[in-house]
Amino acid sequence: MTAVRVQGVTKSFGRTTALDGVDLDAGPGVTGLLGPNGAGKTTLLRMIATVLAPDQGTVTLLGRDPSRSEDRTRIREHLGYLPQDAGFHRGFTVFEFVDYVAILKELTDRRARHDEVRRVITLAGLESVSAKRIRALSGGMRRRVGLAQALLGDPDLLVLDEPTVGLDPEQRLRFREMISQAGEGRTVVLSSHQTEDITALCTRIAVIHQGRARFTGTPAELTARAEGRVWTDARRSPAALAAWRTGEGSYRNVGDPPPGAELIPPTLEDAYLLLMGGSELEVTPS
């Protein structure tokens, strides 16, 4: 089942167009929204989280229409959401905060609710800090608290806005593991401007830029678009859209290679660079 169906959605804030006719489908597994800051990823995710309504176009979530009050409540019962700037009542302990969100999620029976709170705290690896106040936790641990509250009620749809931002490499790896597990059997839609996260986690991606979906497909399909456009050289090539010196001392060039260039296999990051690089390199949405 397609848990998320976004069709022709537009959204403006004053004179700024945040989304301009975006289409997106997401089913079971992890779908990633990739794009630079200000591309419109958060606006799209807030719509998928039922927090924001589109100006035009339609959004269907879990087979329901979030513009209808009754449907919206039903969707929210099966939705987990980690906002980009997830705030916390910092005086609360981890348990108290997750319990507070569980109350908002209508888990009314006290004992069952506390069992569920303990379950998600364990899933997020927070057992040892369950009784600690949130203000005493590191940024990485707070992000885990955010993930724990999103997992309450075992939601069918999980919306994560920049879940790995601000985390150190080890924390990012642990977070990837948690998100990967969360994506088994449910639909996860996450945003990132980190191509490594997208490569590691996502079965499908949408590249959002200036409010439009520049590409939708699998990471392998996007990577394939850079085939034959990445090469190494002893020097920076003037033909390259981007070039950088690698650890081996040679230059990795991305762009239109000169004849006889030593081509190498591209990465998702190369393909993303080409997609973002200029209008002549733009790829139409698939």
Binding site: R46, A49, L52, E77, Y81, G87, H89, Y100
Partner: protein, 276 residues
């Protein structure tokens, strides 16, 4: 615990202990023996209701793991408020100490100033309802409520949350304003004259949340209040906003707003923020 001992509980003692029918001395003795004897623990297992044991264990785990209620939540529990509601009240941003101190500070200053000049007394009457009203608005303001975005995506009823937070804000801020009012010169009737206008304005703002966010609703109601009452009140015509007829009107507004909310509670979607 050791595996076996030289003697064992007889079947009748096991049955009575398992059913909770053993007298205290037998129960204590059986308990001490069971700690040491694997054979008797095995024998008692068939007499014990597994669901009852699981339930007891869950209760123990819950008591041990669950957070201790802090001051405000304990107080609310003593007043008969459910623990879930108490937690929601405890998370109301406008019940934070700095906010309450700010409201109290402004009103105390206004009350003290009224001792010096009667115009400040009139100004106090105009300003007094704005404290509780602002509290209601700030309880839902994005920059103040850190979990607003998470709350917007949760299925909890917007009306219920609005009423809980409004009641909590009024329960705390109205006494603060009332205490400041006691410092006012003149009659005690004047010191309480702002109460019904506050109730009326709050109910009007709540009713407006079906159309717009609490912040905008309160802003509109508060602006209308100041524009309509400030000129006459500051000019000394207190009866216009605070006289007997005006008080009756405010009471009617409060009742109408409250009734409208109650009647439409199942059909109206309150707008607690930008929503889908």
């Amino acid at each position: 615990m050791t595996g076996t001992t030289g003697w064992h509980l007889d079947p009748e003692a096991i049955r009575r202990y398992a059913q909770g029918a053993a007298p205290p001395d037998l129960a204590a003795s059986a308990e001490a023996h069971l700690m040491k004897c694997a054979a008797c623990r095995g024998a008692i297992a068939s007499h014990v209701d597994a669901r009852r044991v699981e339930s007891i264990w869950q209760e123990v785990a819950d008591r041990v793991d669950a957070p201790r209620r802090r001051g405000p939540e304990r107080l609310l529990a003593r007043l008969g408020v459910g623990e879930a509601t108490a937690r929601l009240v405890a998370a109301t941003p406008t019940l934070r100490v700095p906010w309450l101190l700010a409201v109290a500070g402004v009103l105390v200053l206004a009350a003290l100033a009224a001792q010096v000049d009667e115009r400040f007394l009139r100004m106090f009457l105009v300003v007094a309802p704005l404290g509780p009203l602002a509290g209601v608005a700030v309880a839902f303001a994005g920059g103040v409520d850190p979990t607003r975005e998470i709350g917007l995506a949760a299925p909890y009823s917007g009306l219920r949350l609005l009423l809980i937070r409004t009641a909590a804000v009024l329960a705390v801020t109205v006494p603060i304003v009332a205490a400041a009012g006691l410092a006012l010169p003149g009659s005690s009737r004047l010191a309480a004259a702002w109460l019904l206008p506050t109730a009326g304005l709050t109910c009007a703002a709540l009713a407006l949340t079906a159309r717009t966010t609490p912040v905008v609703a309160v802003g509109a109601v508060a602006s209308a209040w100041v524009l309509l009452t400030a000129p006459a009140t500051l000019a000394g015509h207190l009866d216009l906003a605070f006289g007997a007829v005006a008080q009756a009107v405010w009471l009617a507004v409060a009742v109408a707003g409250g009734t409208w909310l109650a009647v439409t509670r199942d059909t109206v979607t309150l707008n607690l923020g930008r929503s889908a």
